[in-house]
Amino acid sequence: MKSLYMLALLPFIGLLGGLSFANRVEPYVLGMPFLIFWIILWVVLTSLIMGTIYFFDPVNKEESE
């Protein structure tokens, strides 16, 4: 349970650790400057992480019952 919730730290760590690296225009990815692409990717991965937590979190099953 605790380790499942620890997943939520990943977006924070990713932002703190990756923003300086991602702060560049080239290479363009999907037509976008790298920084914009990286932030969109970060948002999508954050959503996936939250989906994983939601799916495996027993508290949501308890409340359904």
Binding site: L19, L30, L35, T46, Y54, V59
Partner: protein
């Protein structure tokens, strides 16, 4: 031009109709009026919370920031996402406590948790001081949008009065039910408009998204990334963190938490909200396209970049649709702000001054406060000048000062004392006011610090001082609070 006016009028009438119709079959006591009888499911709560994603600030300001600031505008994509991550754990305990104690306003939560009506009054004043400028911003945005979309046929003042009368009517009649139903219309329209504009404009003007960015890079080298100083990566991260802490502290957003029918709603929303906010990147694309196609907009005129580029590109009927979407981004959040202000004044100020007031009297006071607050907002819209800009700048920093006291109260009993919470909020608010009025930055206060530290958002200082005072005063008053608790237990 006539066609754009007719489209604007059509959507105003439809939103008014939806807002008033929402009352049907409901007995509007204060709980039903202000928090929808705590009966909203995932979609309504999602739309009320998403109301914060698409306000006039994001519609005009998002493209305006992309136009005027470039890369730093990307922070609006990031702070929402992290706020939703936080909401997974923050909102369910708030909702459970509010349901158990039948709370209706944000200050109610602090009053009950800390057993302190005085803290409720302080939280009310912090909330309203932050909220009125935010409401004024929505009204100013409304005036700009309708005036631009009607090609100047409707002056901003007439647009503000018309929009405000509409939301005052449906807020008084239907309360949050009206906001929820108009939010459905708003989000359908705004999504359609933003997705279309964000994809069509780069393709129409540049032949694609990458050619647009290459043209911007050529016109303004490195404008699309964060600069090395000023709005640098450390500014970006500190601003995101501050905004995340303040995100749910706005009185109207906090109160919309109470509307849910179960806590699972928030956890589900935490998964989908980030994806929903990705659409904001297309608002930024519009601003980036305007850099090359509508150059020369200075200062606050940058906020007009979306409309100036659209008017250059589309026929009047399309401008009418864009204007209608913008109109709704002002009306829905505006109605929630009006309602939250009225509820907290009635519940946490009027009721404290007149303790004998019945629930029915508090409910009717809240409803009749709506036009009063609306008139105050109109006054500041036309007479506020730069004061409003300064207050709005303070707004987020002000509501963020409520976060530590809230977070530390989420256990069974608060970790800190009510005196500590009161003093911490007061100290944080004072620092925010002083630094904003003086226009101070960390770099000005401490020029010898490394650049990365100098670029940190000054709001961090207020939050740190808030925490120091909060824990310091709590340590000094711990015995006093324990004594009160002991007396209460003994009395029982």
């Amino acid at each position: 031009m006539i066609i754009s006016l007719m489209i604007l009028l059509f959507f105003l009438v439809v939103s008014l109709f939806l807002g008033i119709k929402a009352k049907r079959g409901k007995d509007m006591d204060l709980e039903q009026w202000s928090v929808g009888g705590r009966g909203f499911g995932t979609i309504f709560v999602f739309l009320l919370m998403a109301g914060e994603i698409y306000t006039t600030f994001t519609f005009l300001g998002g493209s305006g920031w992309a136009y005027g600031k470039g890369g730093p505008a990307l922070y609006i994509l990031v702070y929402g996402t992290l706020a939703y991550v936080l909401s997974y754990w923050l909102l369910p305990p708030v909702w459970k406590y509010a349901k158990k104690h039948k709370l209706l306003s944000q200050p109610d939560f602090f009053v009950k948790k800390y057993d302190s009506p005085a803290l409720g009054i302080l939280v009310s004043f912090v909330g309203v001081t932050a909220l009125i400028p935010y409401l004024v911003l929505q009204l100013k945005g409304l005036g700009i949008i309708v005036s631009e979309a009607s090609y100047g046929a409707i002056p901003p003042a007439a647009a503000v009065w018309t929009g405000l009368i509409a939301i005052t009517l449906y807020v008084m009649i239907s309360g949050i039910h009206g906001s929820a139903w108009t939010a459905v219309l708003k989000d359908i329209l705004i999504l359609g408009v933003v997705v279309f504009l964000g994809i069509y404009l780069p393709i129409h003007h540049f032949g694609g998204i990458q050619p647009m960015f290459e043209a911007v890079q050529q016109a303004k080298p490195d404008f699309l990334i964060l600069p090395k100083s000023g709005m640098s990566t450390s500014w970006f991260i500190s601003t995101v963190i501050l905004t995340v802490f303040g995100y749910y502290m706005w009185p109207h957003t906090f109160a919309s938490v109470y509307t849910a029918n179960n806590p699972k709603v928030f956890r589900k929303n935490a998964v989908f909200m980030p994806l929903y906010s990705i659409v904001l990147v297309l608002v930024l694309f519009i601003g980036f396209a305007a850099i090359v196609k509508v150059p020369g907009l200075q200062g606050t005129d940058a906020d007009l970049s979306l409309f100036r580029l659209s008017i250059q590109t589309f026929d009047p009927w399309m401008i009418g649709l864009i204007g209608a979407a913008g109109l709704l981004t002002a009306l829905v959040p505006g109605s929630m702000m009006l309602m939250a202000s009225a509820t907290l004044f009635a519940k946490n100020v009027f009721k404290v001054i007149v303790p004998s007031a019945s629930e029915k009297q508090v409910a009717s006071t809240a409803k009749y406060l709506v036009p009063v607050i609306a008139l105050i907002a109109v006054f500041f819209t036309f007479n506020g000048g730069n004061t409003i800009a300064a207050l709005l700048l303070m707004g987020y920093s002000l509501v963020t000062q409520l976060f530590p006291a809230l977070l530390l109260s989420l256990g069974k009993t608060p970790i800190v004392t009510k005196q500590g919470a009161f003093a911490g909020i007061l100290a944080g608010v004072a620092v925010v006011a002083i630094t904003t009025i003086a226009g101070s930055s960390l770099g000005q206060l401490f020029p010898a610090l490394p650049q990365a530290v100098k670029d940190l958002n000054i709001g961090i200082v207020a939050l740190i001082i808030n925490l120091i005072v909060l824990f310091g005063v709590s340590a000094l008053t711990k015995n006093q609070s324990a004594g009160t608790e002991f007396k209460e237990k003994k009395a029982l």
